[in-house]
C-alpha cells in the first residue's frame, strides 16, 4: 500500500532544491531522485516544475551551473550553490524552523488543553 502523497507547500520547492544542491554539485535528474528519496515518497515533486525552479534560482544567482560528464558518460548540467545561495538557504531554513516550532507549539498546546 502506497501512502497518499502530500502536495509540496508553496515556496518550499526552492528551499529543498537549495538544500539538495548544498551537499554537492548535482544535475537535475539526480535532484529529482534525491528529493523523492529524501522525502521517502511522501512529497510529490512534479518534475515539470523542477526545471523552471532551477532556472529561476540560476537566474537569481542563487545557483550556478557547469556542464560536466556523468559516470554514465553523458554530458549533464551540474548545479552548485553560490555564496548568495548559501545565505539564502540559511535564512530560509531558519525561518522554516521557526514556523515549524511555532506550529508544533500550537498543536502541542491544544493537546495539553485536552488532557
Amino acid at each position: 500500500m502506497v501512502a497518499p502523497k502530500t502536495d509540496l507547500p508553496q515556496g518550499t520547492l526552492d528551499l529543498l532544491i537549495l538544500k539538495v544542491v548544498a551537499l554537492s554539485p548535482v544535475h537535475g535528474y539526480a535532484i529529482a531522485q534525491r528529493l523523492e528519496q529524501v522525502s521517502r515518497g511522501v512529497v510529490q515533486v512534479p518534475e515539470g516544475s523542477l526545471y523552471p525552479a532551477l532556472h529561476r534560482l540560476e537566474n537569481r544567482n542563487l545557483l550556478a551551473a557547469d556542464w560536466k560528464e556523468t559516470a554514465t558518460g553523458r554530458e549533464a548540467k551540474f548545479y552548485r550553490l553560490t555564496r548568495k545561495g548559501q545565505k539564502q538557504l540559511e535564512t530560509e531554513a531558519a525561518s522554516w524552523q521557526r514556523l515549524i516550532d511555532a506550529i508544533a507549539l500550537i498543536l502541542g498546546m491544544a493537546n495539553g488543553g485536552a488532557r
Partner: protein
Amino acid sequence: MEEQLEKELRFHLNEHADELIAHGSAPDVAQRNARLALGGPEQVKEKCRDARGTRWIEDFFQDFRHALRTLRQRPGFAVVAILTLALGSGATTVMFTVINGVLLKPLAYPEADRLVTLHGKTEKYGEQWGFSYPEFHDYQSASRTLGSVAAWTYGGGTVTKPGEAEYVFGRLISSGLFSVLGIPPVEGRAFLPQEDQLGAAPVAVISYSLWQHRFGGSKETIGQHLILEGKSYTVVGIAPAGFRVDGEADIYTPLGQSTDPRMQDRAAFFIHVLGRLQPNVTLAQAQTELSVIARRLAMQYPEDNQGRGMVAHPLSQEVVGDVRPTLLLLLGAVSLVLLIACVNVASLLLARAVSRERELAMRVALGAGRGRLVRQCLTESSVLGISGGALGIVLALVGIHPFVSLWPGTLPRAEDVQLDWRVLFFALSVSLLSSLLFGLAPALRAPARNLEHGLRGAGRSLGGSTRRLHSVFVMAEVALAVVLLVSAGILGRTMLRLSSLDPGFNTQNVLAAHVALSPAVLENPAKARAAWEDVLERARRLPGVQSVALADVVPMRVGEDSVGYWATPVPPAPDQIPLALISIVTPDYLNVMGIRLRQGRFLNEQDRIGHEIVVVIDDNLAQHAFAGSDPVGKSLWIQGMPSNPVRIVGMVGHVRHWGLAGDDQSRVRDQIYYSFHQLPDPLVHFLSSVMSITVRTSVTPLSVAEPLRRELRGPGGDQTLYDVQTMDDLARASIDRQRFLLWLFGIFAGLALLLACIGIYGVLTYLTNQRVPEIGLRMALGASARDVMQLVLGHGFGMILIGIAVGILGALAAGRLLEHLIDGTRATDPSTFAIMIPILLAAAFFASFIPARRASRIDPMSALRQE
C-alpha cells in the same frame, strides 16, 4: 540558451528512461513514461524561459517579426492605418514643435527665468503702461529685490554715413541693458553709466547685420563714426547676431542722452523697463516691493502717480505675448484629429481581430497565455503606431516651415522653433500612447474562453460586445468630427462677419508710409514745417495721386498715441481721466481716408498757429462726453496740450483703429483729430520723427510707392520712406489671426470628416459582411432589397445620431472657448450648427450608403450556403 535547455531536458529523459529500462520496462514504453513524468518537454521549456525572465525580449522579437509579416500580408490595411496615424501625429508634432520653441524652451539669456518686465497699471485701463523716465530712476534706486534694472524705448533714424542714406530702426537703451540681459556685445563694449547722461559724447552700439553690411564686419569698426540723424556717433560695440529688444533693431544709443522733452515729464509713460531678480527672490516678493514703492511715489507725486501701481511679469511672457492661447487652442484641435485617427485605426484593428479570432483561438489551444496574446496584439499596434509616428515626424519636418511662415504677423521666437530631442521624445510618446489607445480594445478581445466556439465559428457571427464596441468607435469619431466642424463653422461665420464690418474709412486705394525727414531740417521746427509742406506738395503732383495727408498714427497699423481728456473745466481724479486716441493730421486726411463727416466741419487749412486751436472728435467720444447732445462748438481739455481748452468744430464717424476684429474689445476707442499745423514747436520737433504720409490714389496704390520714394528724397537725397503699406493690406492683416485659425480649423475639420467617413464606411462594411448569412436568411424569408438597405442604414444612423448629439455638447463647449480666446467670435449661433451638421449627415449617409447597397444585393442562396 535554447540548445542548453534542450540538452538538459534530453539528459533528464534519457536518464529516467534508462532507469525504467533497468527496472524492466521496454525501451519505447520507458521513453514514453519518462516524458509523461516530466509533463511535456515543450511546456517545461516554456516555463523555464518564463523563469529566466529573458522571455519578453525573445517574445518581443518574435512578435515584432510576426507583426511585420501580418502587416505585409494586408498592405492595404497597413497603408491606410499608417497614413491615418501619420497625419494625426504629424499635425500634433508640428504643433508641439511650435509650442516647444515658443512656450517651453527658456529664452536664450543666461538664467532667463530671473528676467522680468515691469509695467504700470491703473484700475481703469489695466497693465498697458510704460514708465516715465524719472520714475525709472526712482525704481532703479529704490528696488532691492531686483538686482539690476534697465530701460529702453523705440528710436531710430536715417543713417547717412557710411554708405547710402537709409532709415534704420533703433532703440534708446539705458547703460545697464546688456548686462541685465546677460548678453555682452560681441565686439567692443556696452555703454558706461557716464555715457548714459545728457551732454555725454554720442556713442552707439550697432547690430551685427548693420556691422556686416555697412562696415563689412571689420574689426576696426570700434571707434569709427556713424552719422545718424545728422549727428556723429562713435561706435563702441557690436551686438550679437539675433539680439532683440522687442524685435531686432540696427542701432542702440544711450537713453540718458535723449533730448526728448518727455524725458523730464512724469506723465509721459513711454519707457519700457526690464530687470533681473536677485538670486533667491521670488516674483511675488519683487511684486510686493514694487507695490510699496508705487504707493510711496503716489504720495510724493500725487498728480502723476495717483492710482498707479506696478506689476512684474516674467520676460518670457512678454516676449511670447498673446500667442499662448492660440497655440494651445490649435494643439487641442490637432489632438482631436489625432484622437479620431486613433479611433479609426482601433476600429480597423478590431475588425481584423474579429476575423482573426480563429487564429487567436488556435494559439490559445496551443498553449499561449492570454497575457501573451494581448502583448502580441499590442506589439502589432506599436509597430503601426511607431511607423505612423516616424512618418509623422517626416511630415512635421516638411510642415513646420510653412506653418511658421503662414503664422499671422510674425511668430515670436520663430527662430527657436526647431525639431529637437524634446520634440522627438514627444512624437515617440504620442505614437506609443496612441498605439496603446487604439491597440488595447482589440487586444483585450483576445479570446480566453469559448475556445471551441472560436475555433468552430471562425469569426462568422459576432458577439454583442464587439458590435457595441464598434458602435462606440463610430459615435466617438462622429462626435469629435462634429466638434471640429462646428468650430470651423463658428470661425467661418466670424470671418464673414468681420470682413463685412465697416472699418469706418475706405481702405481701397490708400497707401501709408513713414517719412524720415532729412536730419538737417529736423532740429529746426520752422524748417521741419517747410519740409513737410514740400513733401505734401511733391506727393500731390505725382500722377495717380488724388489727395495726400500727413498723420502720426495710421489705423490698424502698430502704434497709437493716447491722451487723457475731459469736457468740464474741472479735471476728474487722475486715475479716472478717460483716454482717447489722438491723431495729428493735416486737413486732407478726411478725404484720403474717406472718413464720414457727421457734423460740423473737419480741420482745414485756416486752422494754423495763431488761430484758435480746434479739434474734431469721433461719435464715440461725443457719446461718452456729451451723451448725444451736439458737440460742435463745445470745449474739450486735452491732457498735456499747451493751450486748453480747445474747441470742437466737427464730429466724424468712428474709425476701427484697433483692427476689424479687435476694435470692439479695446479699451481706448474714443478718437480726437488735431491739426498738425496747430502743433507748438517742441511737438513739431518730436512728432516729425514719427509722421507718416497717407495717399489716396486713382491707380493701384503700390504702383505709386516707387515714384513717391524717388520724389521725396529731398534736396539732400537723405529723406527716406519706410513701412510702405496699403490700407487694404493693413485691414486684411487685422483679421489675419482669425483667417489663419479658420484655415487650420477648416483643414482639421475636413480631415476629421474624411477620417470619420472612412471609419463609418469601414465599420459598416465590416459589420455587414459579418451579417451576410443573416441577411441572406432574411431575404430568403421574403425581405426586399429595400428592407435590407433600411436595416443597414438604420444601424448606421443610430450610431451617427448619438455621435452627433454628444458632439453638439462638445461643440457648445468648444464655441465658448473660441469666443473667449478669439476677438470677434460669437459662438452661440444656431445657424452654424444648422449648416455644419447636415454636411456631416450627408457625408455619413454617403459613407453608409455603399455598404448598405452592397448588402441589398446579396444573393440569398449563396449567402446561406456559406453558413
